[in-house]
Symmetry: C2
Subunit: 128 residues, 2 copies
DNA sequence: CAGCATCCTCGAGGATACTG
DNA sequence: CAGTATCCTCGAGGATGCTG
């Protein structure tokens, strides 16, 4: 099972399904994580985040933040205010992730129309 | 690894949950899509891909390839050989996606140990 | 060889109610 | 305000068998 490293020497993209990239993808590919990371350009309160993510429930947002905190991407800080407050912010590790992600966003913006056109053409080809 | 890009500290990352990046993430974040893309450094036959993805079923691989084809990232070509064959390859659009993805892979490789350490520490703190 | 047709499992995500 | 605690839905993914 020790797979050899014969994969994609041409392209030079070191992705393997059992590799570390899989782990990161699993971390980010849920419904809200990336939106949360993008919103944490400054420290934000729990309900502030919740209001920003239209439709998220408390339970799911809590789970999302816990997972990001667990991986060291987000820091959680309890404020000893009158009603207790909790502040979430990006860690340096979390901030460093924004840069590679921005490349993906840029690609998306540049190719979205192309993708949509392909999808539309495919659907018409299959249906009609 | 401190990039001199000054984008990370500011909002400069144009991600929104209702934006196009969401669409791309939904496309790539399934269990096999990225592995398939990485494996298509050259045209590959269906069963060739299936053998490479350890554990994937025919049904799921078919669906994965259909989705990638629908978005224009992968091309499907039927070979009129003795037993019919099908060849899958990256489109230029699909190839262009590998570059931004490689940034994500590089980040992952550079920070995997850090992430794993955070997760371990978190689990012990919470008492798992 | 490369599928499609069924059936089934399992967990992410949501609805709702309660609380320190 | 920022959470838990239950319960439920829904679809991705898997198992298995059949076929042009």
């Amino acid at each position: 099972m020790a797979t050899t490293l014969e994969t994609s020497a041409t392209v030079g993209i070191g992705y393997r399904s059992d590799g570390p990239s899989r782990l990161i993808l699993d971390q980010l590919a849920d419904k809200w994580s990336m939106t949360v990371l993008a919103f944490l350009d400054r420290p934000r309160r729990f309900n502030e985040i919740k209001r920003h993510l239209d439709g998220v429930t408390q339970r799911v947002l809590t789970h999302t933040l816990r997972r990001l905190e667990r991986s060291g991407l987000v820091a959680r800080r309890v404020l000893t205010t009158s009603p207790i407050g909790v502040e979430y912010s990006l860690t340096p590790l979390g901030e460093s992730l924004l840069e590679p992600l921005s490349h993906l966003y840029a690609w998306t913006d540049a190719n979205l129309d192309d993708i949509r056109a392909h999808q539309l053409a495919y659907d018409q080809r299959v249906r009609g």
